[in-house]
């Protein structure tokens, strides 16, 4: 009311003053948050919201996290809720699942998903299958999280993508965020979910900033698990991807737009359950499909998407066979030039699009 009066009194100058004052009185519309901080804030808020939530893993407490994702949490919540474990994945993953059986809501961090292979029996046989085997008697509200897929220069044993392996298994939810909005909303959703969730982060994305709106910064902002997002509307071809490759698809789309090709970019967000409906609707609109992933081609995420499109209504709308862009079918080499040629690059996406569109 006061601002309106001052506007009417002072004319034009007052308008800009009023507008400026209005902006400074309301909270900023958007903030820049990198993926690491988005994950950190999500965990912090969920730890505060529910006392049963706790985090365990190697270096998560006093070291602030091997990749600093859990920075500050131990200082705030202490030993009871942020637990450093010895280097014993099978043991601590089993302990985490047992804690979930008994009513807690653990977040079990694998320093990278490569180390989950030591514990994979606990993830699959103890966590994923138990609700089914017990006919709904025993829930397992656990989140397993950590960086997945290729990094930079860490070689073969530290670079594998596990989306296909875990995505294969009923009883699990498998989530693969790309940006900060995804990281925040999906991690909150995962922690609040009463089922075992495999949360596949990406180390190369941790330091990348994205804009988060006020709505996204709300402490109850969650993104539904199992729903893909169309990041970019397009008409000529659908690009389906997850995690870091979503960014490459958007970059490729920008280059292709200059040549008159409009790509629709679909960010899966969730690997299981797969949002086939969104993919099908997009393919039925564009008539062409290229999938893009960092993992190996054989029996991978892209293979599943192509099979589903074949089996569903969208097949009849395809103008050309669907095609996959993937990591090269080799263990990851170390030398930079070799590593660069082991993963899908933007030029590979552009090349594939042009091939599919017969350009």
């Amino acid at each position: 009311m006061a601002s309106l009066r001052s506007f009417l009194r002072s004319g034009k100058n007052a308008v800009s003053v009023v507008l400026r004052r209005e902006f400074s009185e309301t909270s900023p519309a958007a903030v820049q948050v990198n993926v690491r901080d988005a994950l950190n804030q999500a965990m912090d808020e969920e730890l505060e919201r529910d006392e049963r939530v706790f985090l365990l893993g190697e270096e998560v407490a006093q070291y602030d996290g091997a990749y600093k994702v859990s920075r500050g949490l131990w200082k705030k919540y202490g030993d009871k809720r942020i637990i450093d474990t010895p280097i014993t994945e099978m043991g601590f993953a089993g302990i985490a699942v047992g804690a979930a059986f008994a009513g807690l809501r653990p977040i079990c961090e694998f320093m990278t998903w490569n180390f989950s292979m030591q514990a994979i029996d606990q993830v699959i046989n103890s966590a994923a299958k138990t609700y089914y085997m017990s006919a709904g008697f025993q829930t397992v509200p656990i989140v397993f999280r950590g960086p997945n897929g290729s990094s930079a220069g860490v070689a073969a044993q530290h670079s594998q993508c596990f989306a296909a392996w875990y995505g294969h298994c009923p009883g699990l939810k498998v989530v693969s965020p790309w940006n900060s909005e995804d990281a925040r909303g999906l991690l909150k959703a995962a922690i609040r979910d009463d089922n075992p969730v495999v949360f596949l982060e990406n180390e190369m994305m941790y330091g990348v900033p994205f804009e988060l709106s006020e709505e996204m910064m709300h402490k109850d902002f969650v993104i539904p698990i199992g729903k893909a997002k169309v990041e970019r509307q397009g008409t000529h071809i659908t690009l389906v991807s997850h995690s870091r490759c979503v960014g490459f698809c958007l970059d490729a789309a920008a280059v292709l737009a200059k040549e008159g090709v409009e790509c629709e970019v679909v960010n899966l967000r969730t690997i299981r359950p797969l949002d086939v409906d969104t993919i099908e609707a997009s393919v039925m609109k564009t008539g062409n499909l290229v999938t893009v992933e960092g993992g190996w081609p054989q029996y991978g995420v892209g293979a599943e998407i192509c099979a589903r499109i074949m089996e569903g209504p969208a097949f009849n709308y395809l103008d050309a066979p669907a095609v996959r862009v993937t990591g090269v079918d080799i263990p990851m080499p170390y030398a930079k030039i070799l590593e660069d040629h082991s993963v899908p690059q933007i030029k590979d996406i552009i090349f594939s699009v042009k091939k599919v569109l017969n350009m």
Binding site: G94, I95, G98, A99, G103, Q122, Y131, S134, A135, G312
Partner: protein, 396 residues
């Protein structure tokens, strides 16, 4: 604690009483219950200790009430397992079936030393524990026959039965041990007085994840009782052929350990009470090795005589049977009559018969249930069937 009766038994009498020539139908006790000794104290075998100054007491006082309860429960487990053997041979039970007969004193003695608010987890030889943890014979047998009224609605089978504070029934050897430590962590985290009993066999005792669990349980002082049920054989491999050290109660290294006669329900009970006190006083984990024996082979597909002699099995049966041991103690101390125990036998037999009848006539689960229980608290969703045209639905 010591009753007025002068009858103390040291050890056990080896032979079974010859069955009385009593009519099986109506049995009338010739004495009134007031004539029975209300409780008696028995000497029990000394327990071997590891990193402990003192162990459980060398005597155990048994009330008549508890004695009858333990007798009934052990007999129920025994007869239930033997019935399962029968049904398996008739192909009414299929797949894996790992029987517990011979080991009854372990399950019953452990339960005698804890309460139902405590937690327990074991491996796949789990039917006895499903019963002691609150399951009924009916729902256990119906699960074995894969029917809709089974304790897991036919979805789990022999190895995957659950009740309140009982986390199965676990098929992967050793995996249940870290799970049990996780349950113990939850007990400590939530500030309850509860503990978790985490069982494994002599075969599992060499699993790496168990040593990982010993380490974390000790570091974090978790209220967990590790129990190794050493029945001398991991499937077809004797303990000497599998373990460089067969002193399983010492394998926890920095964890205090007890080696206990697992055929004596009172021994097991006293040791469990001792272990439970240790945990509840905040001292952290403790390890019990129960020396026990299984009469059956590893599972129903193992006759159990290629790696051990029939003489060995027969010797254990005649000298160390847990049910006979308890029966002899009670009869010799006038804590029950032969007729009374026979009545219990008859009741148990009837319960098992009725349960078996139910388990063979109850219908199989409905096909609607095929895809249910994938996710908890989720609205229904479509599940892909064997073909792209088969659309099935999952309910929580």
């Amino acid at each position: 604690m010591f009753p007025s009766s002068p009858h103390h038994l040291s050890g056990l009498s080896g032979t079974l009483h010859a069955p009385n020539a009593q009519a099986a139908s109506v049995v009338v006790s010739s004495r009134s219950y007031a004539d029975f000794t209300p409780e008696a104290t028995f000497d029990i075998k000394k327990v071997d200790l590891h990193r402990l100054e003192e162990g459980p007491p060398l005597t155990s006082t048994l009330t008549r009430e508890d004695g009858l309860k333990y007798y009934r429960t052990m007999q129920t487990i025994r007869r239930m397992e033997l019935k399962a053997d029968q049904l398996y041979k008739q192909k009414i039970i299929r797949g894996f079936c790992h029987l517990y007969d011979g080991q009854e004193a372990c399950a019953v003695g452990i339960e005698g030393g804890i309460t139902l608010s405590d937690h327990l987890i074991t491996a796949y030889r789990a039917h006895g524990y499903t019963l002691t943890r609150g399951g009924t014979v009916r729902e256990i047998m119906a699960e074995l026959t894969g029917r809709r009224e089974g304790i897991a609605k036919g979805k789990g089978g022999s190895m995957h039965m659950y009740t309140k504070n009982f986390y199965g029934g676990n098929g992967i050897v050793g995996a249940q041990v870290p799970l049990g430590a996780g349950v113990a962590l939850a007990c400590k985290y939530l500030g309850t007085d509860q503990l978790c009993v985490s069982l494994y066999g002599d075969g599992a005792a060499n699993q790496g994840q168990i040593f990982e669990t010993y380490n974390m349980a000790s570091l974090w002082k978790l209220p967990i009782i590790f129990i190794c049920e050493n029945n001398q054989y991991g499937m077809g491999t004797s303990v000497e052929r599998a373990s460089a050290s067969t002193e399983y109660y010492k394998r926890g290294d920095f964890i205090p350990g007890l080696r206990v006669d697992g055929m004596d329900v009172l021994c097991v009970r006293e040791a469990t009470k001792f272990a439970a006190d240790h945990c509840r006083s905040g001292k952290g984990p403790i390890l019990m090795e129960l020396q026990t024996y299984r009469y059956h082979g590893h599972s129903m597909s193992d006759p159990g005589v290629s790696y051990r002699t029939r003489e060995e099995i027969q010797e254990v049966r005649s000298k160390s049977d847990p049910i006979s041991m308890l029966k002899d103690r009670m009869l010799s101390n006038n804590m029950a009559s032969v007729e009374e125990l026979k009545e219990i036998d008859i009741e148990v037999r009837k319960e098992i018969e009725d349960a078996a009848q139910f388990a063979t006539t109850d219908p199989e689960p409905p096909l609607d249930d095929l895809c249910s229980h994938i996710y908890a608290n989720e609205k229904s969703f479509e599940v892909r069937g064997a073909t792209p045209w088969t659309k099935l639905t999952s309910h929580s």
